[in-house]
């Protein structure tokens, strides 16, 4: 058994064990940490397969960003269940294991039935990051744009879902602004001139008053 084969089996064992840890851990923090281990191991497997850019991107994106996001949410929320569901493992475990064995047996039969892949994997050439980037930005450029729009819409959706209105914030209401009439803002009053001596400017007949209504419905409404 070569060294690479040994590495493959070690990483596979760690990956499956950490996946079991994700689904079996009691506390969500333990699940999240097991998931981090699973991502790391999967990145190692991908690098073993020659996809070193994807492995590093997996570590950066998932371990660096998504898992921190998960841990933030775990810390923010009260993750304890109100009434402790004491799962009766003596009753629930055998059907689960049976379902798992049947599922895996079906998948394994399908995979091993094919005549493909009897020979060993080809040894990956060193460094395909350049070729990956060229394929992504040349042949798959429209798909890349669609994925960018998907990420943008996911961001907008996440903000729109969790955003709460601040009751103290002062903001404009366009419907109220549009519903206002000229009479609400401006009132023409007839009044006599109060000072007789300086009537050289002919403003005595009408006086434009802005605001200052006694009922408080001035310009500030």
């Amino acid at each position: 058994m070569s060294f690479l084969a040994l590495l493959f089996y070690i990483f596979s064992a760690i990956l499956l064990a950490s996946a079991l840890g994700v689904i079996a851990a009691r506390h969500p923090v333990h699940s999240a940490l097991s998931l981090v281990l699973a991502f790391f191991t999967m990145a190692a497997l991908w690098i073993l397969l020659g996809a070193e850019f994807l492995g590093l991107a997996l570590i950066i994106i998932y371990v660096g960003a998504v898992m921190v996001f998960f841990l933030f949410v775990i810390m923010m929320l009260d993750t304890r269940h109100p009434e402790k569901i004491k799962a009766n493992w003596r009753v629930t475990l055998p059907p689960l294991v049976l379902i798992g064995i049947i599922m895996f047996a079906e998948l394994a039969m399908l995979i091993m039935h094919g005549s493909h892949a009897r020979e060993a994997m080809p040894v990956p050439e060193a460094g395909n990051t350049l070729a990956l980037g060229q394929a992504m930005f040349d042949r798959y450029i429209y798909s890349l744009e669609v994925v960018a729009i998907l990420l943008l819409s996911a961001m907008v959706a996440a903000i729109a879902l969790t955003h709460r209105k601040n009751p103290l914030a002062k903001r404009q209401d366009p419907s109220k602004q549009m519903a206002v009439k000229a009479e609400d803002r401006l009132r023409l009053v007839k009044m006599t001139a109060e000072r007789e001596e300086d009537n050289e400017s002919d403003v005595s007949s009408g006086n434009v008053s802005l605001g200052n209504k006694p009922d408080g419905k001035g310009i500030s409404s």
């Binding site: 397969l49 895996f104 798909s143 961001m155």
Partner: protein, 106 residues
């Protein structure tokens, strides 16, 4: 005919199937926590990605790795929206237990 001891494509596909099986059993068994449910969905997408990468390496074809990039981006978007929904559910129900969200009686 059992696969040999050197890792071939069959080994990688079997590993991916085993990971998927574990995740499915976890999805069925999980009754406590929607957060763990989201993590399990991430693991399911990861096992799909392992298929893509393994077949891409086997065929020496780079298109599978480009698809893996897209799946990674989609999974990130999914987790963002899923966690936002989780926070909304927590605000309404004060819990993130799965049995708290049973209005549809499904």
């Amino acid at each position: 005919m059992m696969p040999g001891i050197e890792p071939t494509l069959t080994h990688y596909l079997l590993l991916s199937a085993a990971l998927l099986t574990i995740c499915m059993v976890g999805l069925i068994a999980n009754r406590r926590n929607m957060l763990v449910l989201l993590m399990i969905v991430e693991l399911v997408l990861l096992s799909a990605n392992l298929n893509f990468v393994a077949v891409s390496a086997y065929l020496s074809d780079l298109n599978g790795q480009v698809m893996t990039m897209f799946v990674l981006a989609t999974a990130a978007a999914e987790s963002a929206v899923g966690l936002a929904l989780l926070i909304v559910v927590f605000r309404r129900r004060k819990t993130i237990g799965i049995d708290a969200v049973n209005t549809l009686k499904g």
